[in-house]
Amino acid sequence: MSIENRDHIEEHHTNIWSYVFVLLALFTLTAFTVLTAIKVDIGSLNIVLAMIIASVKASIVALFFMHLKFEDKLTWLYALYPLFLLFLLIFFTLMETFTRVPVLK
């Protein structure tokens, strides 16, 4: 990464309004989490809804507070590869669970 690019990044980092906006977004989503937990009952999908909101919040934190939005491709690779590993872990664990043949009926 060149010096110029680094300066460019610093400019983005010092934009206070983006941080304020992100903070408000996180507060809003937290309120949304609480509201849906109290008011919305969609059975087994409750957890899915909660996880979707949590994932959006985590993404905002990673992108803006952790500056991922302004980083180079290599940093993105290191950020996204664990998500692929998480997918592997969940996919193969569920695949193993769902393909089990019951020994006792």
Binding site: L74, P82, L85, L88, F92, M95, E96, T99, V101, V103
Partner: protein
């Protein structure tokens, strides 16, 4: 191969400053490396003593040395936990990586020196927690499998908490090394000129960074289940005990490569120097470290073939497991090709490197047996697995570690050891190791299960042979330790570059100056250009 390296004889070495705080609060990567080296060596010796106690118990089929079978269970839990989490996982990566990575790439330190010191102290806090747990040690084995680990009255929480804390040290070290290799390479030190130890350390760091959080969370879930009665793994509460094994091995199989890939790097450094030939298949060796690091995440279920998992999953993972053999074999063939027609010098470190190739190949091939689904059903949880694991971990990682100790010793301390004694201790270690573990392949094949304090009489002769072997191995390691410690107090001062190595760390005085390089060097040639004119 490089310009700009200080050769001033009046320099201040990194060992010059004395006193507790000069070491405890240092941010010098070399000192931190030495502190790791001393700490992990202490735990290696402690874990070795527990192994000797276990082998002594197994001299006879009855329980006679330990009072209860639980005491034996505690002994193998301690042995496994200390060896895996306190010696072999942080072992080469943290100790040698810390000392060597900046020197080899032409940097003055790692990217985050303070974080590096924090990593060491976090590691030490983890060891203190574990030592506290010794008052009421766990008896679960190093794998902490549920449901037993939840039900046992022994102190599982403290020992797993110790391992959890250690994980942070591993993650921080891995991140530090990745950034260091990316950002601090000297001018001219391109990726294709990097020493293979750096490639190996980089691949290891990726595994440390990405796999370790999984075991951390798994052990936290276990602690929560045990202390708060939450049912993650208990079927009665909606959990699944197999889930623990899935999580545990998702980390712990890549962890096997965290342990052994740095040793691959060491062997790739030692062999060209003492064969006086350029390394054969440089890129193949470098990229195969990455291939192993990637594939290692796809194979974890082979540890669970007899845990009641589905046959479909077992068949898929048996196939995937075979893939790991390919990049591993690439390395072995390239090392052999490097040796071919070389002008070989049998320095003690080279003897360990050659032992590594021989023993690791046995460990790797028996791993292929265990990866084959049908064979594993017969051999699972027998002494065959114990022998295989020790051929990989001791025959591989520890032989590489011992080779590194002898190879870089003059660089670390500016002193040298008695080479004849070193060769004698190598002989004892090599013979003792094989006498200890080779009979275990046969015992396992005949059905002797692992982790039992008592056994049928038909296995006694093999157990006696194995125990005698452990004494020879212990004697060899004892002599090696005394020889290396005595070397520090000796007056023998080696040449600056005793092996005529072309690697960057050998182009500077020994022990290295405090800041490594007066001016950052400019690298102009390949690290392995032996025999070029």
């Amino acid at each position: 191969m490089a310009n700009g390296i200080a050769a001033d004889s009046t320099y201040e070495s990194y060992l010059a400053k004395k006193g507790f705080t000069a070491w405890a609060l240092t941010t010098d990567h070399k000192r931190i490396g030495i502190m790791y080296l001393i700490t992990i060596s202490f735990f290696f010796l402690l874990a070795g003593v527990t192994a000797l106690l276990m082998r002594y118990e197994l001299l006879t089929p009855e329980l006679d040395f330990f009072s209860t079978t639980t005491q034996y269970n505690v002994a193998f839990t301690l042995h496994g936990s200390l060896m895996v989490f306190f010696f072999i996982v942080p072992g080469i990566a943290a100790s040698l990586g810390n000392f060597l990575i900046p020197l080899m790439i032409g940097a003055r330190d790692v990217a985050f020196p303070r974080l590096n010191l924090l990593s060491y102290w976090v590691y030490l806090v983890g060891t203190v927690i574990l030592m506290t747990a010794l008052a009421q040690p766990a008896d679960t084995g190093w794998t902490f499998y549920t449901p037993y680990s939840v039900e046992t009255g022994t102190n599982v929480i403290l020992i797993t908490l110790g391992v959890f804390v250690l994980g942070f040290s591993s993650i921080l070290t891995g991140m530090n090394f990745i950034v260091t290799v990316h950002k601090l390479r000297a001018p001219g030190m391109t990726w294709n000129r990097l020493p293979l130890f750096i490639w190996a350390s980089y691949a290891t760091a990726i595994l440390q960074l990405l796999a370790t959080p999984v075991v951390g969370i798994t052990l936290l879930l276990l602690i929560m289940e045990k202390s708060l009665d939450i049912g993650f793994f208990d079927p009665a509460k909606g959990g699944d005990p197999i889930l623990f094994q899935n999580f545990f091995w998702f980390y712990s199989h890549p962890a096997v490569y965290i342990m052994v890939i740095p040793a691959f790097g060491i062997i790739s450094e030692i062999i060209p120097v003492f064969a006086r030939k350029p390394i054969f298949g440089y890129r193949a060796i470098a990229y195969s470290s990455f291939a192993i690091a990637i594939i290692s995440f796809f194979v974890w279920l082979h540890h669970m073939f007899v845990s009641g998992i589905s046959e479909t999953a077992a068949a898929i993972f048996s196939f995937l497991t075979m893939l790991v053999a390919i990049p591993t074999a690439i390395k072995v063939f390239n090392w052999l090709a490097t040796l071919y027609k070389g002008s070989i010098e049998f320095h003690s470190s080279m003897l360990y490197a050659l032992s590594f190739i021989f023993l690791f190949t046995i460990g790797g091939l028996t791993g292929v047996f265990l990866g084959a689904l049908a064979v594993d059903v017969h051999l699972h949880d027998t002494y065959f697995v114990v022998a295989h694991m020790h051929y990989v971990m001791i025959g591989g990682t520890v032989m590489g570690f011992f080779g590194a100790l002898h190879f870089w010793y003059p660089k670390w301390f500016g002193k040298t050891f008695n080479e004849l004694t070193a060769k004698a201790s190598w002989f004892l270690v090599f013979v003792g190791f094989n006498v200890t573990f080779f009979p275990q392949f046969f015992m396992g094949y005949q059905g002797m299960p692992r982790r039992y304090a008592t056994y049928p009489e038909q296995f006694q002769s093999a157990h006696v042979l194995s125990t005698y072997g452990s004494w020879i191995l212990g004697l060899g390691i004892f002599i090696m330790t005394v020889n290396l410690i005595a070397g520090i107090f000796s007056r023998k001062v080696p040449e600056g570059n005793p092996y005529k190595s072309l690697s960057l760390e050998w182009q500077m005085p020994s022990p290295p100056p405090h800041n490594n390089f007066e001016d950052i060097p400019i690298v102009t040639d390949w690290t392995y250009a032996y025999g070029k004119k």
